[in-house]
Amino acid sequence: MSALTDPRGAVEDLTRPEGWVLGVSAAFLLFLLAALLTGALGPTYFLFLVGLAGMYALLSFGLNSQWGFAGLINFSVAAFFGVGAYGAALFTASGSPLVELFEGVPLLPSLLGLPIVGLVVGLAVAFVLAILIGIPTLRLRADYLAIASLGLAEVVRLIVLNERWLTNGSAGVRGIPGFFAGWPVLGTFPEAMPGLRLEVIPGSPVLLETAFWQALLNVLLVLAFAGGVYFVLRRAHRSPWGRVLRTIRSDEDLARALGKDTYSFKMQSFVLGSLIMALAGVFYTHLNLYVGPGDLDPITTFYAWVAVILGGSGSNRGALFGGIVIVTIREGTRFLNDVALPIDPAPLRLLLIGVVIIAVMRYRPQGVLPPQRELIWPSAVDGGGAPDSPDSGVREQKGGGGDE
């Protein structure tokens, strides 16, 4: 709320878990800063991780707007992610099979190589796919969508793997430019920036070169994507629209009896979430500069689910938190290699995620940062002569403080 004008009050307003998350995050940031300054963590790699965290946050946002808002069980996160990633890759990569396919056709070749076209195509395909899978399943009970989406994920993955003429099959797509390639200023920004050499601690210099500036651009891009999505979701969540979705999640028949076209609302929620997942895929393409069928493995879906459950379903900032935790566990375990362990740490990654999930389910089933304040359009509560915000919050013993 007014963290800038009244920092002490803002801190006192936090619930215990919020304070806890804030404390751990601060400690974690300090740790990262120390690692960066001592050169233990390369700055370019660090920015890559930030981009990856942003990507997972986007995936979690997408799933949260489906499952967290409306209770739609979507097991094809990886498919929508993959559609976005491949859409962007095929339209921008120099090694894309589309280059050959479009050859000689008027106009089409000029569309290739433009990241913005890839973005639009990725989102458009995800949009169509979401509607196609939604039409038969969203009129039925939630279980049917779960099963159909599970199948969809495999179908999309197998198509990508086998339709070589279009996707390059198991070889994947290479030669993808950065998202800003060809843009005025931003396109040449990484090359134009001078290499910097920082030496905070004598003897371990930190080098900032072209790759670093490229990574910095990616981070700015994902911040813009995630920030925009967060803004949209936050507004949607506390609106009458979001309230109907939450009613559907609790009791769809009640929503129908009160005159809500639940099928339409579920479709909107499903399409919105799928578009956000595809956006994550588009970003991933330009972050990783390579996509392959392996990126469509169910593990991506699994990670998104873990992130949303961990953060608290229905909570946007919970989804953000969950996404960051996933990347920390996924990438942090790589560093365990440096520590002498009697066993190979790679399999520990999944074990650790499993342990975290069990612990959260056992001790905090609502997630670490569940949505808190009652969700009424803000100006209506502030100005409508309504009584003050609840003295005892809905999900916590505290109202207010957080963003939602």
């Binding site: 609106s239 309230r243 609790s250 005159g259 229905g314």
Partner: protein
């Protein structure tokens, strides 16, 4: 059978020859009756008479095998529940529906129909209109909660109030949808006598203000005191319809309840 059922002056709800079977069981067997505008019409019948099925058919939750349902003169047979609601018919459920994670007033705000803020696009194109209607709806919700004398519950979690209070909230929320005819499925089942009395007062008050009611109720004292006329359902068809006095003294009704008359 259903003498004078269709001869209503101004029926807000007209059910004609409605049929529904589940497998071999005819749950609704050629039921015909009407609800006169401005009345509180009771719907009674022994367990298994098909009262709830009839509610589900009228409100669009079930698709009838035959027959028609008219709301305000419009044929709504086979429409989706939300479309039926658009014609002014709202229903409640036998077991109170819980909205997890919402406060009472938040749960109330689901009631109003056609809120501008229910359009995703308008959240961004005209947030001013959304805010305006949200303020108005919130004020209206709190006014109705005050009328129901449960405004102290407004910011309580909707899942933490008693069963009877939930019934009150359900009724209050249904009123926010501005129904012309409100179908109540056992409004006082499992409600303590004090709250039941309160519900009765409220239903009567709302009726005086112009809402028509059709209610299923097993509590005979409650329904006989409140409703007039009363429609008696037995084995899926309408046994009789009449004043509480008439129904109470009808041998066929007594037989139906006692399982005799075979």
């Amino acid at each position: 059978m259903s003498e004078g059922a269709l001869a209503k002056q101004d029926p807000v709800l007209a059910v004609d020859d409605l049929q529904k079977s589940f497998g071999g069981l005819a749950a609704t067997d050629h039921a015909t009756f009407g609800v006169e505008r401005g009345t509180i019409t009771g719907l009674i019948g022994p367990n298994g008479a098909g009262k709830s099925t009839l509610f589900n058919l009228i409100s669009g939750f079930y698709e009838p095998d035959g027959g028609t349902v008219e709301v305000n003169g419009t044929d709504v047979t086979g429409m989706e529940p939300y479309e039926v609601a658009d014609y002014g018919l709202i229903r409640t459920f036998q077991t109170p529906r819980k909205l997890e994670g919402m406060t009472v007033r938040e749960a109330m705000l689901v009631g109003p129909r056609e809120q501008p803020g229910e359009s995703f696009r308008r959240l961004f194109t005209s947030p001013g209109t959304v805010a305006e209607s949200e303020s108005a709806n919130l004020a209206e919700a709190e006014r109705i909660l005050a009328e129901f004398e449960i405004d102290h519950l407004a910011t309580q979690p909707a899942t933490d109030i008693s069963g009877g209070q939930m019934k009150l909230v359900e009724l209050a929320r249904a009123m926010l949808a501005e129904p012309e005819v409100l179908l109540l499925d056992e409004p006082v089942a499992g409600v303590n006598p004090t709250l039941a009395k309160k519900l009765k007062t409220q239903i009567r008050r709302l009726n005086e203000q112009g809402t028509t009611f059709l209610l299923i109720e097993h509590d005979m004292e409650f329904v006989m005191d409140l409703a007039d006329p009363i429609v008696v359902l037995d084995q899926g068809h309408v046994l009789t319809e009449g004043t509480p006095e008439g129904v109470r003294n009808d041998d066929r009704v007594i037989d139906a309840y006692l399982g005799g008359g075979a």
